[in-house]
Amino acid sequence: MTIIDCNNLACPEPVLKTKNALDSIEEGVITVIVDNLAAKENVSRFAKAQGCTVSAKAAGEGWELTIAKGYSCELPEMMPEGAPGVAKLPTAILILSDKMGADPKLGEVLMRAFLSTLSKASLPPAKVLFMNSGVLLTAAGSEAIEDIQALVDQGVEVLSCGTCLDFFDKKDALKVGTVTNMFDTVETLTDGYRVTTIR
């Protein structure tokens, strides 16, 4: 396992060293040792934005950050309690419509109920992606914003497709989560997530 010692390094050096180390591997785990809060938060945020899993523990005067890239992202701490010792992929939910199923009236009720229940689930997904008319759920005018915000508050990454927001003229009306692009969407769908699609 690669260990990167960033003791006595000022920002942005720790992030740059972490970036180099992560760029040089397809997947795997690296440990980054930092001695100040700025480096700890910057490196963690950088790694998470790259889709890695980060766990931090206090070590000596600073912190030891364990960063997992690619398929082997499941650190022991990330396992749901009582889960078997095999690697379990994080879940992503892809929502392609603002309604669930064919009947529009029933579909609207079902979607509200689905998001409300999801926001209270004991094991929330890692990501929820909204595409096509699904983005109407995260934009102004949606009645599901509170439930989706509850997901965000639990650490769920809530992403809405920028092209779709544009298409529905909701570009500036996103109320919860962040905007994503096709590149990140493809990465999520093809790389290390168990994806459930809601149409």
């Binding site: 920002c11 942005p12 992030v15 740059l16 700025a38 938060e41 910057n42 950088f46 915000q149 919860v176």
Partner: protein, 307 residues
């Protein structure tokens, strides 16, 4: 002496006679960009800003320069000083000379002397509940300049940052003085929260910021996700977070932008609600297009709220 060491104002002020007070300040910084001419402009704009924040007009300036002789060429030093001289000229001041020393690290800035009408003196102690708050430049300069240091900023983002930092607060300050403003500060190394805290404390009020109205430099969000946040932002956050209540859903993220140290940042102006829209229009049309009303002053005990 009208303003000295104890109020945490941007510059010291001494009364000369009934219609004139002397404003004095000194500030120098290490490089935030590679281009020496741009660095000279930015450092000078940053130094001149303290006079503007008091409602004053710069009269004279002196260079303060420290640099490693072996690492910088004569042309680079000349370019830095030219950048500074051009900004002093733009400010209508006279550059009288200065002092240079050798140092392992490069620093440049100005000592600036200005004049202010004591009746129009602007301080951080005059904010009144009901006032609106105008911020004249976008935040995020600390983040984008860290990304520049890390080689991770795009040329367009670098250019936007340099343009913002090299812009004098001259016209915005003239507009606020004409509008009868009595309370402002410039947003620099302590970030929005650090400088707002000075106003809240000295004026014995709370300042409320609307997160969605706070302008950010292009590239700031990218720099934030890339972990390109200067250590100073975290230091500012740790120093002031006890007096800040964050209600915006962006939470920690909003707090970190508001803690980002600015070099040659904008003015934070407390202005009566009847004057605010008109003043904002004048400031925007005078060349700082990103200026915005970002919040309001409320009765309180010196706290900040980001909602």
């Amino acid at each position: 002496m009208l303003i000295g060491l104890h109020t945490g104002d941007d510059a010291g002020v001494r009364l000369l006679d009934s219609s004139n007070a002397l404003v004095q300040t000194v500030d120098f910084i290490s490089p935030v960009v590679d281009d020496p001419y741009a660095f000279g402009q930015i450092a000078a704009a940053n130094s001149l800003s303290d006079v503007y924040a008091m409602g004053g007009t710069p009269i004279t300036a002196l260079n303060v320069l420290a640099f490693p002789c072996k690492e910088l060429s004569r042309d680079e030093i000349t370019a830095i000083l030219q950048g500074g001289a051009d900004k002093v000229a733009e400010a209508g001041g006279a550059l009288l000379g200065g002092h240079t020393v050798e140092s392992p690290e490069l620093f440049y800035g100005l000592s600036v002397t200005g004049l202010v009408d004591p009746a129009k003196l602007i301080s951080n102690a005059n904010a009144r509940p009901g006032d609106n708050l105008i911020l004249t430049k976008p935040l995020g300069a600390g983040m984008v300049s860290t990304a520049v240091k890390g080689g991770l900023a795009s040329p367009a983002h670098t250019e936007a940052m340099v343009k913002s930092m090299a812009t004098l607060n001259k016209k915005a300050a003239e507009a606020m003085v004409s509008a009868g403003v009595r309370c402002a500060t410039d947003v620099t190394g302590f970030g929005l929260i650090g400088h707002a805290a000075g106003i809240a404390r000295e004026s014995k009020v709370n300042l409320i910021f609307d997160w969605e109205r706070i302008p950010l430099l292009p590239g700031a969000k990218e720099a934030y996700s890339l972990g390109m946040v200067a250590a100073g932002a975290y230091a500012n956050r740790e120093k002031w977070h006890d007096i800040v209540e964050v209600r915006a859903k962006e939470g920690e993220e909003a707090l970190l932008y508001a803690s980002d140290p600015q070099t040659s940042g904008g003015l934070l102006i407390s202005v009566s609600p009847h004057e605010s829209e008109r003043l904002l229009e004048v400031i925007i049309s005078s060349g700082t297009a990103e200026a915005a009303i970002v919040g309001e002053v409320a009765p309180g005990d010196g706290s900040l709220i980001i909602r």
